[in-house]
Symmetry: C2
């Protein structure tokens, strides 16, 4: 036997969500449609390279939508599809768990 016993759809969901940066990008997009640089600035340490990779992957999964506004200069907006917004409860549970079980970090000297 070479196959996992787990539900393949559940496994797929975990695979999507546990790819580095994916969750934080989706979480960031939960606050509304926004542009490439905005996401990039919201997640310091996330490089443009990986961000563009992740956005492409998420678009392929149907989680993120990329809309081009033909203004001048052109404006490109990333947003969540219904499928993407449906991930919100997962983040809600993560937030609950973290506030219950993770320690409050030390404050930096003022």
């Amino acid at each position: 036997m070479d196959q996992s016993q787990m539900c393949p759809r559940f496994e797929k969901a975990v695979e999507i969500l546990s790819k580095r940066w994916t969750s934080l990008i989706v979480f960031q997009l939960l606050s509304g449609p926004q542009r490439f640089v905005n996401i990039d600035h919201a997640l310091p340490n996330l490089s443009g390279k990986v961000l563009s990779e992740r956005l492409k992957e998420l678009e392929l999964e149907g989680i993120v939508k990329r809309v081009v506004f033909p203004e001048s200069p052109v404006r490109i907006e990333y947003s969540l599809s219904d499928k993407g917004r449906a991930l919100a409860p997962i983040f809600g549970e993560i937030a609950k768990w973290s506030s219950e079980w993770l320690p409050v970090p030390d404050e930096v000297a003022p």
Copy 2:
């Protein structure tokens, strides 16, 4: 400004959960305490090397407990702490999302 605007505890939770294999290992342990090889067999494609790394990390986070039973031969059991079991609702939401939004995979020819 070099810091993220997100809650650091939320970010930490995402960091823990989105490390490769971590979620699946915790999910597997939700079914009860078990031994190293059992987890290893339940997750094909997961090597003993990475499994032992992840179990150490999860133990440090206080999510997994490692108990040595001094039988002969010695038996080592991994299980979830309260903190670890408290992750269950997150997996519940992931399962819900995946069954609602991910396609049912094709069956293999019988």
